[in-house]
């Protein structure tokens, strides 16, 4: 029997990026595991519900050892969603898939020592500093990557129906943003033209992001998820060069003159 496709729609396949914790073990593995246990003891549940990628590019191990390592991690409730830097011969059925093309993001903060009593803190400064230094050298080696501030410059008008998305940083538009267009930026948004559409700045939770425009006629502006519609804006500001920022979760605005 032939199958009849009644639904003409095709399957939608989308790309999406997530932030994962990357663990880079070093040799010997039992020492590394001991240090991992130490870390888990200080910060219970750190790996719980977190996607974890295992980076084995610096390890000279084979499939059997890798399988063992994965089992050891599973025992510690660390669930590995993928393995980075593995040779194809190291992976097999029942193991997490190979991952590549990862981009460095800001490092995860791991509590470095058990929380001390507040009154004890002042007297123990020196001691605790030494401890911190010690703990640091014991932590898994994570390559320190300084996040690079990025910016996007668009030198033509953003037309109705177009959407500019740039979670990585600031967006500068030399031209207007039309009614029905939108600009979403992780950082600030600068518009050297009229803003008639919608702008969302600081979209990934950056409350210090700002919006600047030469002529404010926006449908909607938002900073760090706090938004303001056209009708909530001071009519005096309409048509003016304006900057908008966030103060105590309230969008503030003033003319640029």
């Amino acid at each position: 029997m032939t199958k009849v496709l009644t639904d003409a729609r095709s399957i939608r396949i989308k790309g999406r990026s997530f932030l994962a914790v990357v663990l880079s073990p070093d040799m010997p593995l039992d020492h590394w595991l001991a240090r991992l246990d130490d870390l888990a003891a200080r910060s219970a549940g750190f790996f719980l519900d977190r996607p974890v990628v295992l980076d084995v590019s610096d390890l000279q191990i084979d499939k059997v050892v890798l399988k063992e390592l994965l089992e050891q991690l599973a025992e510690r409730n660390v669930r590995i969603m993928g393995v980075e830097g593995a040779r194809p011969s190291m992976l097999g059925p029942g193991m997490p898939p190979a991952m590549k093309g990862g981009k460095a993001a800001s490092d995860f903060e791991v509590p470095e020592k058990p929380v001390v009593e507040p009154e004890a803190e002042a007297t123990e400064v020196e001691a605790s500093e030494a401890e911190v230094g010690d703990a640091r050298s014991n932590l898994p080696v994570v390559a320190e990557v300084r996040p690079v501030t990025q910016s996007l410059v668009i030198s033509e008008p953003v037309r109705s129906g177009q959407s500019v998305m740039f979670p990585e940083g600031d967006v500068t538009i030399v031209g207007s943003v039309s009614s029905g267009a939108e600009v979403i930026a992780g950082g600030s948004v600068h518009i050297y033209g009229a803003l008639r559409g919608r702008v969302m700045a600081g979209s990934l939770g950056n409350a210090s992001a700002r919006i600047f425009c030469r002529k404010l006629e926006a449908e909607l502006v938002a900073i760090d998820g706090i938004y303001k519609m056209a009708e909530d804006m001071d009519p005096e500001l309409r048509g003016q060069a304006v900057q908008l920022w966030l103060e105590n979760d309230v969008i503030m605005a003033e003319t640029l003159n």
Binding site: G161, S179, A194
Partner: protein, 271 residues
């Protein structure tokens, strides 16, 4: 090789078909070989405005599907021997158009004609995207009111992303044709002013066509306004626009205004 122009707007009823016919007839009166192509499959109108509705045998869809040869479907205008019409099918819908078929027909037309003027359907779906896809140049028809301006803005965005020219990294030449313009209403504030529209759309102005009964009268007798009454204000404005299309540098004036004073103002083109 001929030049392919798409007449488009996004919004319906702004004057795409009227403008296609008027510009086609104006260019043909200069002595160029012109074909006007109706892409509005299922809702064709260009045949009526051209006065050829009773002479349609084969249409664009027949040619695309190989049921007819291109010369069989082309209808020669009765008044101008170098003006032709390629009608759309009224009984089919836009899905009958294929990208490859349209490309082949456009390629063939380019060999025989100086100008291929494509009358786009309203909207941003298949019919409209196929009409603009192979164009060398776009005429964006806009009325001086906000919804038409916003739809035109949307279409300009598509012209810059969904056409072959854009995909090859080239820039699509776009021109604004402001139709149904009424000087008095614009001055009273009932309509957007020319400068407001230019500021929003920021593309060069091809011409301003005044709101006029002559346009309606011409389509009722089945003739492009540039053929029905060449002396009328809208016809004059279309003639000027066609000269600009052909590359002449001609200052844009607001029809119905005294020439000279405003020519100074609107002689400049928007960025």
């Amino acid at each position: 090789m001929g030049k392919v122009i798409v007449v488009t707007s996004g919004k319906g009823g702004v004057g795409k078909t009227t403008s296609t016919a008027a510009l086609g007839a104006a260019l043909a009166q200069r002595g160029d070989k012109v074909v006007v192509v109706d892409f509005d499959v299922g809702l064709r109108n260009l045949d009526l405005v051209m006065g050829a509705e009773r002479r349609v045998v084969y249409d664009l869809v027949n040619v695309i599907q190989g049921d007819a040869k291109l010369p069989q479907a082309l209808i020669r205008d009765k008044r101008l021997e170098n003006l032709f019409l390629l009608p759309a099918s009224q009984t089919r819908d836009k899905d009958a158009l294929t990208a490859e078929g349209v490309e082949r027909v456009m390629g063939d037309l380019k060999k025989y004609f100086d100008w291929i003027i494509c009358d786009s359907p309203a909207g941003i779906e298949r019919g409209a995207t196929l009409a603009m896809r192979h164009a060398d140049m776009a005429v964006v028809v806009t009325n001086p009111e906000v919804s038409s301006v916003r739809d035109s803005d949307r279409i300009i965005g598509l012209l810059d992303s969904k056409t072959l020219k854009a995909e090859n990294g080239e820039r699509m030449e776009k021109h604004l044709l402001l139709t149904r313009y009424d000087v008095n209403r614009a001055e009273r504030g009932d309509m957007l002013k020319v400068d407001d529209v230019l500021e929003i759309l920021s593309i060069p102005l091809l011409g301003i066509i005044p709101e006029s009964m002559d346009v309606l009268r011409a389509s009722n007798i089945g003739a492009p306004v540039t053929l029905a009454d060449a002396k009328s204000l809208p016809a004059q404005a279309y003639f000027d626009a066609s000269r600009r299309l052909a590359g002449e540098a001609l200052p844009v004036t607001i029809p119905g205004e005294k020439r000279g004073i405003f020519g100074k103002f609107f002689g400049r083109k928007a960025a």
